[in-house]
């Protein structure tokens, strides 16, 4: 099977859907320009023309309401934000309007809206270009929230999201854009709401969101190499609906759990996942769950502080060691991912 990058997979999903369904439109600041949202919107303007693929004024709030209004008249809008931070300008439309519009007006409508936003770590981007915010979206009844990690999931889940009659927020980590994976050529749906075991194991469960799955996989590799520890890595993939059962099944087996969330820990998604997992695995958990996430600070810009701010495979390894009472592995010979040393897949 061919390999595609995550970015190519996103583009292919959108392209195939737009070819299939004329009611799909895609827009956002920079969507049709030559940079093409890091490449994820290439060819769309060329193939589908400016009435289906267009740029917008800088007006996040109104363009989000625009998406809702277009959906109510039968279109399927895809609204793209090159950074999720800009969605903070559109929270009113997203939370007060889109999430509940159909419910409060009597379920006469469909609201097939896909909001794509890029998250994560750039390169000294600082506090206004580095948020994740997935817990914000997941908290609101009426919204679905997905965070695909692999290219094949990106294609399948975005296809599902476009076809979904509910609004879906899709968060795409910038550092995943280069990651490759085997991706089917034909169109397919990956159901939203099912977690995925990225690596099987029996000793400890690491639950990851988005980029943190990559760090978790690297941690699992090193843990196995040095200590023979078999970590199971589970990608939640979708925060709402959340597949808490799959996580619980794993934790029931391993007895230990680390949640590695690509966000601030405090009042983040990890709290929900932890609470549900404790509930479902009350008797099988041998130690308290550990949560790994961003430091409780705005994201600073200088590299040395950025490295302190972001957790990585090492952070996860140290938590595993601590929870499993292992001697610390010497990591000086191990390589970790960085902006310069990218994860490129394949999975």
């Amino acid at each position: 099977m061919r390999e595609l990058t995550y970015c190519e997979a996103i583009n292919e999903a959108i392209d195939q859907e737009m070819a299939r369904d004329e009611s799909i439109i895609i827009f956002g600041i920079g969507v049709p320009d030559h940079k093409k949202i890091f490449g994820s919107t290439v060819n769309l303007l060329e193939k589908y023309g400016p009435s289906r693929c267009f740029d917008t004024p800088l007006a996040e709030e109104a363009m989000t309401g625009f998406a809702l209004g277009a959906a109510l008249q039968g279109l399927k809008p895809i609204h793209v934000h090159i950074r999720v931070d800009f969605l903070l300008l559109a929270m009113n439309q997203l939370v007060n309007m889109i999430s509940s519009y159909n419910y409060t007006t009597g379920s006469h409508f469909k609201t097939p809206i896909l909001i794509r936003a890029i998250i994560g770590r750039g390169w000294g981007q600082g506090s206004q270009h580095s948020k994740s915010l997935h817990s914000y979206f997941a908290h609101i009844p009426g919204l679905k929230v997905i965070l695909p990690t692999t290219a094949s999931d990106a294609k399948g889940m975005i296809t599902s999201a476009i076809r979904d009659d509910s609004p879906v927020v899709c968060l795409e980590h910038r550092w995943l854009y280069w990651a490759t994976d085997k991706v089917l050529e034909e169109t397919y749906e990956t159901p939203i709401g099912i977690a995925k075991v990225l690596r099987e194991g029996s000793d400890i469960t690491i639950v990851g969101t988005s980029w943190m799955n990559i760090e978790a996989l690297r941690a699992a590799e090193i843990l196995f190499k040095h200590r023979g520890v078999k970590a199971e890595v589970i990608d939640v993939r979708s925060l709402y609906p959340l597949d808490a059962d799959s996580i619980a099944r794993s934790v029931a087996k391993t007895g230990f759990c680390i949640i590695a969330d690509n966000d601030w820990t405090s009042y983040g998604a990890g709290g929900e996942i932890a609470a549900l997992t404790y509930e479902k695995c009350f008797d099988s958990l041998k130690k308290p769950i550990r949560r790994v996430g961003f430091a409780h600070a705005p994201c600073p810009t200088v590299r040395c502080l950025e490295n302190e701010f972001y957790p990585n495979a090492e952070t996860i390894i140290r938590e595993c060691e601590s929870i499993l009472d292992l001697e610390p592995i010497s990591l000086s010979d191990e390589l970790f991912y960085s902006h310069e040393r990218r994860f490129k897949g394949p999975f």
């Binding site: 439109i25 009435s51 917008t56 004024p57 007006a59 709030e61 109104a62 363009m63 989000t64 309401g65 625009f66 998406a67 809702l68 209004g69 277009a70 959906a71 109510l72 008249q73 039968g74 279109l75 809008p77 009113n92 439309q93 007060n96 309007m97 519009y101 159909n102 419910y103 409060t104 007006t105 009597g106 379920s107 006469h108 409508f109 469909k110 609201t111 097939p112 009844p141 009426g142 679905k144 979904d164 009659d165 509910s166």
Partner: protein, 321 residues
Amino acid sequence: MSMANTVGVELYQRLYLARKCEDTIIKLYPEDEMRSPMHMSYGQESIPAGVCQALKSEDPIYTTYRSHAAYLAKTMECRKFFAELYGKTTGTARGKSGSMHLALPTKGHYGATAIVASNLPLAVGTAYAIKYRKQPLVACAFFGDGAMDEGSFWESINIAALQQVPVMFICEDNGYAVHTSKHARQGFKDVMSILKGFEIDVYQLDNDDPLRIYQIASEASLKCRKTFRPAFLKISCYRYLEHVGINQDFGENYRDKSKFDDWQSRDSVAIQRERILEDGLSVKEVESLERKIEVEIEEAVAAAKEAPEPSNNELLKGVLT
């Protein structure tokens, strides 16, 4: 009846339906069975009546929490309306919307919104879809003067003007946002001179004569359908009652009762009644169509009171589409 005559009569029917429905609310509200905050249209009926008279039934409209007159004028029905106010399964949203989120898409009513200025961008998006799908429609957003304070208002005007889509913005300018006069909120003297700078057509009316509103809205919607150039209508009006609730509030000193007297002396419902009488309808004919509306309302209220409340499992239905 002549064409002009038909319009006049229909206009009056819209006005009378709205006025009488609200009279009924005022009468029955104290029973405490309609447990929904009511932002009354009372006194402002002619804007939605005149505009909806100019629209087609399928033209989508978006309104605010001050929703009654626009709902009634657009849909010309009051059974689902009262059922919703009573929170019954036969209501527009089976008791989930109350007064503030009324909608009836089959009649082109796409919903009411309680966050000021939040419906303007929806109308723009709908207009985009209309143009894209080559439908012979125009989308319409009703909002108060308060909406002009919000950034979303300006973003929406700009986007509509940029995209040249068939949308009509209808500003119901009653001069107040809750108790705050527009002079305490606006950093300009004349918003029309500002709006003229956008690639839209602007229309203004400093009274609320329903026929004039109908005429302006007809002209505007005709042009808007044809040219896709957005239209902005600012129409003055006066809220007779308190911001929310069924009472007057002239004792509170934030506005002058004399202004009310002035507006009431040219009450739009009364004016339109005069006009159709002048147009040749007999008093009997007018009373008969009034009676018809009153009967409809009585029946709607009776039916609403009888209708079942939603069962508990309704709560989680429709959260996802």
